[in-house]
Amino acid sequence: MTELRRIAYYFRRKHFAMFGLLLVLALVTVAVLAPQIAPNNPHAVSRDRFLSPGADARYPLGTDNLGRCVLSGVIYGTRVSLFVGLAAAATSTFIGILIGSMSGYFGGKTDAFLMRFTELFMTIPRFVLALIVVAFFGSGLDRLILVIGVLSWPGAARLVRSEFLSHRNLPYVDSGRVSGMSHLRLIFVEILPNIIPPVIVVATLDVATAILLEASLGFFGLGDPNLRSWGGMLSRAQSHIRTAWWMSVFPGSAIAVTVLGFNLVGDGLNEAANPRMQIEGGST
């Protein structure tokens, strides 16, 4: 996999991208080690309501209107955000690959139909539809992931389609056809591995979008009520924004940092995969 090695080489030279990667890795660590790091049970209510940061050593970032630890909430919220973000992006990428590859590989009428279908999805206001779906079917974590994933695939599909269009008539695919290779084999075994780098870029950026969408749904009170999520914390902070700034600032910053991290990694990967100059030894 020399191409991936090359991408890694260029990626390492991008300071912003490396910073983004560091952020993402830090967040993953926090999510995994949440029970060890968090000073308190994030759900435990106490009588110490509206403690400001630093007022009590037990609550470094203060407490909310129910006396719950803000820091622990933010730490456990990382789990929800990352899980929803990664799972939703995986779902949307999967659907995108399925539809995009069929569209690009077969072309013609299949392509025309699938692309109109994709465009239809792109015109739907994602957030409003997500609101409606969650309002109707409830807001379990699984449903959130499914809704966000199903509403986010058109970008990946269009990318995969254009990559397949450029590959489908390359000689290596034609010689597979000459040997009687089946369409499925050509699509998934032969062509697909060639387009993985750009797909990873889009998937990474999709993670950031999904996290934002999840937080927005949470803000409107449509997150999973059994979990402490950043969006949910922001939602509760709304009515206390003048008196208890810490209730909104910390989960808000967590969202910003996470989205920034994934965006930096995605952009970095994108640039590393398409360096403007590629010099290989031996060419004139």
């Binding site: 020399t2 597979g176 040997s179 009687g180 032969e190 591995p193």
Partner: protein, 339 residues
């Protein structure tokens, strides 16, 4: 059809629809326009012509990568139009391809092992559960095309190989199904002079050993001269002259053949500077709007008024030597009187 004929095509045509939009009338691009050819067992038929003459499309039609607009293709005496699934399986094994661009003709993400064995499995040459046999065969093929030690090459990716080595892999892949016909589309055009001779030599040796026939598509007359038994010259989707290579290159019955040969520079200053050169005016007309009558008449130095109106018939000037020119017989007899 003779006993020895392996592949025969009759009046094959392929028109592509182009420029179809809301405001434009659809137009046809006459890529291949009534081509008839045959390939005998174990021989090399070269298909030559300039870009856009339809030689590659003819190859793709034979490989079933494009569907013909009209005409028919017979392989081992049976029309492809009436093929059963079992026939197709035999065709997939019997007819193979080598492409020009060694960069994109091998999947960059796959090892040479995968590339070679996948062709054997997909074509049904070796069943999928006999992976060991496939690997053995891949090893033997690599040795045959001069890539030794085979084990080393099996584990490599295409971008770890040189252009000449990649083209050898392409040849090994084509051979992996035990074909009796290989369509070679400009197989050495992108190779350097020194490597070109090596690959041509390999193709020639393999033909002698295995009796495989080649449809050798090329724009380089110098390459065709040395490797072909018979040659067919194409211009604007039609075969203008065909026959044994030495005779076609000597007699040059069709004026286009003559112009093509005289235009090719020879790597010898004395010969090339003193030879008679025909410089044709203009470029090849658009295959969307081919000239009426003989397609070559607007550039032809021999053209008369009837060439602009009457399509010249294809005549047999000598056994196995055909030309589509109003003056074919006259030109052939003047060649005969010279020799």
């Amino acid at each position: 059809m003779a006993e020895t004929t392996l592949l025969e095509i009759h009046d094959l045509a392929k028109y592509f629809e182009v420029g179809r939009s809301l405001f434009k009338k659809k137009q046809n691009l006459y890529a291949v326009d009534g081509v008839s050819l045959y390939v005998r067992k174990g021989e090399t038929l070269a298909l030559v012509g300039e870009s856009g003459c339809g030689k590659s499309t003819t190859g793709r039609l034979i490989l079933n990568l494009e569907q013909p607009t009209a005409g028919s293709i017979f392989y081992r005496g049976k029309d492809l139009a009436g093929y059963s699934a079992a026939d197709w399986k035999l065709y997939r094994q019997g007819v193979q391809v080598v492409f020009q661009d060694s960069h994109s003709s091998l999947n960059p993400r796959k090892t040479i092992r995968h590339i070679l064995t996948a062709a054997m499995f997909s074509s049904g040459t070796i069943p999928r559960n006999k992976a060991q046999d496939a690997e053995e065969r891949a090893r033997a093929l690599l040795s045959e095309v001069g890539l030794r030690p085979a084990e080393v090459f099996l584990a490599k990716y295409p971008n770890e190989l040189s252009g000449g080595q990649r083209q050898r892999i392409g040849i090994a892949r084509a051979l992996s199904t035990n074909p009796d016909l290989i369509v070679a589309d400009e197989p050495v055009s992108s190779l350097d002079v020194s490597v070109k001779a090596q690959v041509l030599n390999l193709l020639d040796t393999l033909q002698k050993e295995k009796g495989v026939a080649f449809l050798f598509i090329s724009h380089e007359l110098s390459v065709v001269r040395s490797i072909a038994d018979r040659v067919a010259v194409m211009y604007l989707g039609k075969v203008v002259e065909s026959g044994p290579v030495a005779e076609v290159f000597d007699a040059k019955v069709h004026p286009y053949t003559e112009a093509l040969i005289s235009a090719t520079p020879i790597p010898d200053p004395d010969t090339t500077r003193n030879k008679k050169r025909i410089v044709l005016p203009g470029g090849v007309p658009s295959p969307m709007d081919p000239p009426k009558g003989c397609p070559f008449h607007p550039r032809c130095f021999r053209a008369e008024s009837k060439c602009a109106t009457e399509v010249p018939p294809t005549v047999e000037v000598a056994p196995g030597h055909h030309a589509a020119c109003h003056f074919a017989e006259e030109r052939f007899s003047s060649y005969e009187s010279m020799t």
